[in-house]
Amino acid sequence: MTGTIRPPVAEQTAVGAKAPGRLQLIRWSDFSLVPVILVLMVIGFIVSPVFLTSSNLISVVQQSSELSLLVLGQALILICGRMDLSLESTIGIAPVVAMWLVLPTEGGRFAGLGLLPVWMAIPACLLVGLAIGAINGFLMLKLRVNGFIATLGMLTMLRGLHIGITEGKSITDVPESFRYLGKTDWLGVPAAVWICLALFAIGGAALAWLRHGRSLYAIGGNPEAARAAGIRVDRVTWIVLAIGGLLAAFAGILYTGHYGSVAATQGNGWIFQVFAAAVIGGISLKGGRGTLFGALTGVLTLQLVVNVMTLGGVPALWNQFLNGAIIIVALVISRFASGEKQD
């Protein structure tokens, strides 16, 4: 009896044997929005023949690219059981600070400090994003204040900083390095789209197959248990928050390149879209559940809705109403398709 009781130790089993069925990395619930997307496509096609042209579809995905990066960052943060509202401001303030540091003190419309050489613009921007994420981490993990309100404060503060620095104007003298990514096509599809897809793929792979990626689920699901299992909960959370800021800053670079300037309202009001996309895509606000693929379908759904409504010429007055209605409908569909209560 005792002979069989001793459980295997990891190294011993490494040789492996017949695998009795794939480990379900992907659940059906992750695909719950796919039918919605298909229905939207059919409606789109009925509404306008333009819908299915590659140029329209490419423009839909390109317009999704910046939002999807925020959703990527937010999804990672949500999976490990936190929230970061300030991503919405980071997408604007990070490029602003970078340009402030880089642009010359005179000559342009926007007077910078000229402290750094121009090639530093992108690194500086990313660093600012990282720093913002790290500050959020400090507030949540060291001071232990409520993350929702702390990042809400950051959101307001950073937006204020943005307006303070730019005096409410958009910055149009954007360094060439920023423009490049927003304007270039690779294989006929905007570079930004490829980059987003790549980042989602990397993120998804890390969550599925890397030990640190997998640890996010444990941390979000039960931080105490994760700690007892030897996961450095605070450190990982902090890194994830910083990565969230980094991704938002990168989204800021793409946005700036895409529209050729840093808008004064860059990212304003996006955070609700971000949450809606993530949750409709199956990410739990309580942490520990969801996949990046789901989040991506969430973004696409919302973006397709907007596109179809535009093509369909929905009266502007009723646009927002439909938008809200569709969020609710998508939410209900995703809840019943996945069969899980969402509490």
Binding site: G21, L23, R211, A218
Partner: protein, 515 residues
Amino acid sequence: MDSKRQEAPAAVHAEGIVKRFGPTLALDGVKLTVRPGESHALVGRNGAGKSTLVSVITGLHRPDAGRVTFGGEPAPAFGDTTAWQSKVACVYQKSMVVPDLTVAENLFLNHYGLDRAAGGSGGRFISWRGLRARARALLAEYGVDVDPNARAKDLPVEQRQFVEIARALSFGARLIILDEPTAQLDARGIQRLFDKLRELRSQGVAFLFISHHLQEVYDLCTAVTVYRDARHVLTAPVADLSKADLVSAMTGESAGTAVAWHAARKTAPDAGTAPVLEAEGLALDGEFEPLDLAVRPGEVLGLAGSAASGNTALGETLVGMRAPTAGRIAVRGRVVKPGSVPHALDAGIGYIPEERHRQGLVLDRSVAENATLTVTDQLGPWGTVLPSRTREFAQGMIDSLDIKTQGPEQPVSGLSGGNQQKVVVARALARGPSALVALRPTAGVDVKSKDSLLGVVRRVADEGSAAVIISDELDDLRVCDRVLALFHGRVVASFGSGWTDRELVAAMEGVGERE
């Protein structure tokens, strides 16, 4: 008189109860009858459906089929929980306190002594002063020294459990259900509870009592019902049933012979061999005073102590969950960085935490993922975790620990409590620890599983590792080669493997300490 009682309608009678949770059939046409004034035990292995039945007969779950009567009358409508409460009071297996509310309020939750019928003030407004006084008196009756103004979440588990028990018993119901009430209590607490129950029984109150400690069944109950795999197996007077018969009814196998895991009476480990796990001057302010420990290869050390003895804190310090205020810990001579679980893990310390839901499991994730949480660095090259290796590894664990599950992919939340506990053990063993630290490893685990879990601990030691069991359950401590008794943060006694229950309990209770 006996026949007269037979004719009185049953305090509760349930029959043909069927309850499904998705694909799981939790109850398959079971029946149960508790007569007035009877103390009735319900036993069965983990996942047999006991707690589900409790939910059904207390109105928390609606059965898919079957019918429940109280004193011959049909049960109240589903959803009218207040009506159910007048029929039956219950201490659930799950904690049912509201952590942020005070003890007084938890005791009188939703009643507040307002109902005139129940002897209350009959007013519309809650009288906090009166409530507090009543709470204090109620607690005093159980000898629990708790400030009614304390918040429930600040109480130790044991006192919280008493709050729940006191609440259930104070309703004045004729039928009281206790689902594993003793799992969180120390010996003295159990004694107090039993005294109270016997007193109520003498007043004619009926009990349904669920426990995995069969001895308690024999101590307290007159009749017993056994469930196995969601079905009713037998109901019999306790006196007619030997312990071995009871166990074989629960497991469906003829009772095994001597328990396999009992401390092998081999020669005590050679004092000369270098200890595997060593602690010097280890102390944590407010929990335990400086103490030295040394556990040698092949040795299982028991740290016995009741709830307030500081033994839990000691265990958590050993594994790095808490940072000691003084002292050092070493494994095989290597000093472990204090207060760091990853370092402790690397040094070879395995950890079975006390409360599985708090520290042991990520309930939404799969069995495979939970079982491999500590070995994610060994399941693939370059920090990857290969699904195939994860699955294989988990399958191995499931087989060897006999975990009842649909497969490695099933979320842990769908397992029964005992099987969940086995997943926690699997997680601790996954790294092949040289020193295993187990806190109350068999809490809430059925007899058979308990055997196998303790057997695992024993085997770990026999293969040359060291093990520490921190518990107040005598059964757990029987595997140990050596037992230290803690009282108020100090080691008050030390025993070899030949201790008697009485000695050890006395030491844990602090009787005759500081000789």
